[in-house]
């Protein structure tokens, strides 16, 4: 369901292209390769004579689209390209000089050939400064050789956790999924409750703690510490999955967390995302101590990183020569700016958008495109180019080198005005999908796009991790900047639930779609489907046998 056998559909060549190749093979391509000039931004143009302006053989014009014939190198403009085909028999395939794309004069359409693309890409690799070592080609870089350790140990625990769940199920009051339970607000702690609800149902974490991977007894023996946040999280899981449906008060957890993060320990309005980062930090710290490893390179084995850690790639390209330098940074989430550029003037004034206005909706893919788009750095941010050996204007582009198991997307909804020295919340609605394909934002896709989306097997494209995700939790914020309220929507067995502190209710998926999302939690598709078949609810039958299920209650997720 997830793995794609090939990234491209290899388009069938038209009759004329096929004919050309039969008769001329690679001759035309090879001689054209010498005429290719690669611009610093990676594009390939056909430029035969460095000094002369190419002109159409028929009208001597140099404007519009120019095509060069693959057989005789005659240049024609788009108006006269047919004339060339008519005057010279068999000269049917040409190349768009501006974009180096094959053009069939008889079909009057752009056509594609992997062999041609290969020729172009080879020239790009050869000519761009840095060659195959940089420019996004990860020949023998970090990730290609190491196989991604896909939830090693997490998957194995499913059997045990399944058993634990069915055993606890005996006390379930209703046929609702286990783990569904309200959290009491301890005094402005809805920021904490909302994140906890999402974490409780993140499949890797849930499986980890429910299968007793953090054993409190052994923990206390080893470390001798009285307070351990992981033990408290473990206790939280036990309580939430116990089958008891009265709201739980995560007081012990709050106490532990405040002891670890004393700078955030205060009774006041706080930010859910900040709390999320803080919890992961604490889990990492504690587990690192126990595992005796202090790796911050993204391959850390603590449960927080195993679930949430991904790798971001940053490419900085010199605008003058095209040299690209690449750095990698691990991350546990992605913070996105809203793609507000599509806002019409009326939106800026924060007036409600008319329901029939199709344009002007911010979308998650828009935000992700913004995130992975090439950004020209200002002239005040010139960077030193290794190739030019001086400060140059540059452009920067982010992409995702390695996706995490659980993808947390944080929507930045605060806007600062330096002029007025004030901050305010952006209430702009953001459309987000339930199924998310992250392929276009991968480093491999971004690199390929930079080189014109040529049909070429870039080396590290065979990643065994899945780029398709399903959403399982949404944290929504309502209200103003300094005072508002968080709720969490959970998707369990294809039913959405709203967790509003102690109140848990069933909601229609439309409510979730229409909500003002602040944090989105996606999990890789295989894990999502596995998780949703595990939490099988068991209805207590009239015969009081908790293990027999009634029809309709034990159906698998779609």
């Amino acid at each position: 369901m997830c793995a794609r056998n090939s990234l491209y559909t290899n388009p069938k060549p038209c009759k004329h292209l096929a004919d050309y190749k039969l008769r001329h093979g690679f001759n035309g391509y090879d001689s054209l390769q010498n005429c290719l000039k690669i611009t610093p931004n990676g594009r390939a143009r056909v430029d035969k004579h460095n000094t002369k302006i190419p002109r159409c053989n028929f009208c001597n014009g140099s404007q519009g689209r120019l095509y060069i014939c693959l057989i005789c190198s005659a240049i024609s403009c788009s108006s006269h390209i047919l004339l060339h085909t008519q005057s010279e028999k068999g000269h049917e395939v040409a190349v768009d000089m501006e974009r180096s794309e094959l053009y069939c004069c008889l079909c009057r359409d752009q056509v594609y050939d992997p062999d041609f693309d290969k020729v172009v890409v080879s020239k790009q690799v050869k000519d761009l400064p840095g060659g195959s070592k940089s420019n996004g080609f990860e020949g023998g870089c970090d990730g290609s050789s190491k196989r991604k350790r896909l939830d090693s140990g997490i998957g194995l625990d499913l059997k045990k956790s399944k058993l634990l769940i069915t055993m606890r199920d005996r006390r379930a009051k209703s046929c609702y999924p286990l783990g569904l339970r309200g959290l009491n607000n301890l005094g402005s702690t809805c920021f904490m409750n909302s994140v906890l609800q999402a974490l409780l149902h993140a499949p890797p974490l849930r499986n980890y703690f429910l299968s007793d991977r953090h054993n409190s007894f052994q923990c206390r023996k080893k470390s001798g510490e009285k307070v351990c946040l992981l033990c408290d999280i473990d206790a939280l899981y036990s309580a939430m999955f116990s089958g008891d449906r009265t709201p739980y008060s995560p007081a012990q957890f709050l106490y532990s967390w405040w002891q670890h993060s004393s700078n955030l320990a205060s009774y006041e309005e706080q930010d859910a995302h900040e709390f999320f980062i803080s919890v992961l930090d604490v889990i990492h710290e504690k587990e690192s101590k126990m595992l005796n490893s202090r790796k911050d390179d993204g391959y850390c084995q603590c449960i927080a990183h195993r679930a949430f850690s991904g790798l971001l790639r940053s490419d900085v390209t010199c605008i003058s020569c095209g040299f690209t330098s690449t750095t990698y940074d691990p991350c546990v989430d992605i913070s996105l700016n809203l793609d507000t550029s599509i806002l019409s003037p009326s939106d800026v004034a924060n007036k409600p958008i008319k329901p029939d206005e199709k344009t002007g909706v911010s979308t998650l893919s828009g935000c992700l495109n913004l995130f992975t788009g090439a950004e020209k750095l200002g002239s005040d941010q010139k960077l030193h180019c290794q190739n030019c050996q001086e400060l140059r204007d540059s452009s920067k582009q982010l992409s995702i080198r390695r996706l995490p198991l659980v993808l947390c997307l944080h929507i930045k909804r605060v806007e600062h005005s330096l002029v007025r020295k004030m901050s305010r919340k952006i209430n702009q609605y953001l459309q987000f999908p339930f199924s998310l394909d992250m392929t276009p934002y991968l480093s491999s896709s971004i690199t390929r796009n930079r080189f014109g989306n040529r049909i070429f097997a870039f080396e590290y494209e065979n990643s065994d991790s899945c780029a398709e995700y399903e959403i399982f939790s949404v944290i929504a914020h309502s209200g103003m900047l300094e005072s508002g309220h968080y709720v969490t929507y959970l998707r369990l067995k294809n039913q959405w639930y709203k967790c509003d502190d102690a109140w848990v209710s069933e909601v229609d998926e439309g409510i979730v779609r229409a909500s003002q999302c602040y944090m989105l939690f996606y999990v890789q598709k295989p894990l999502f489907y596995k998780a949703n078949e595990d939490t099988r609810c068991v209805r207590i039958s009239p015969r009081r046998d908790p293990f027999s299920s009634t029809a309709g209650c034990s159906s698998n997720a779609k």
Binding site: G187, Q252, E269
Partner: protein, 168 residues
């Protein structure tokens, strides 16, 4: 001296037209390639998600729709109701006093002796800057340490008093 006259204006608009054509063909060529190579195969699914979202928003904003009931004072799915301030009593693990759940956090703060505003302004910005990458954004002047949404009881007048929240 370049004096604008009719010829020059025509020339400028001719150049502009040329540039515009070039850009359009560029985009068309790129889109053509993406479509032919199947690199945009998610277009249909994306459109479906968009339309589902639009429908959902329309339903929610329709006043005749009952919509979501305010969950605070209703019976939840387990058949229970709760007071707006959680009333369950338990013992504070720091001092041993009996506290109501809804008042636990403010109690704990004074109990643990962690000052409220004293050290927050400084330390919050340093810790939240860990594990983050920076990205200059031309649209939003954004500061890492303070991009946070708060929760809490209303009553604090916002600086943008006309920025009332409306349901989408």
């Amino acid at each position: 001296m370049f004096v604008p006259n009719e010829d020059n204006t025509q020339l400028s608009s001719h150049f502009f037209g040329d540039l515009l054509d070039s850009v359009i063909v560029d985009v068309a060529s790129e889109s053509h390639r993406l479509a032919k190579l199947g690199l945009d195969r998610n277009l249909e699914e994306e459109e479906e998600e968009m339309s589902l979202s639009a429908q959902a928003r329309a339903r929610v904003s329709d006043p005749s729709n009952n919509g979501e009931t305010n969950g605070k004072h209703v019976v939840d799915i387990f058949g229970q109701t709760y007071p707006s301030v959680a009333s369950k009593i338990f013992e504070c693990m720091n001092c041993g006093r009996s506290i109501a759940a809804g008042r636990f956090a403010p109690h704990l703060e004074t109990c643990m002796g962690t000052g409220r505003k004293a050290r927050l302004k400084v330390t919050r910005s340093t810790t939240s800057a860990q594990n983050r990458y920076s990205r200059g954004s031309p649209v939003l002047t954004y500061s890492l340490s303070t991009n946070r949404l708060s929760n809490g009881t209303p009553g604090v007048a916002g600086e943008y008093s006309n920025d009332t929240y409306k349901e989408p």
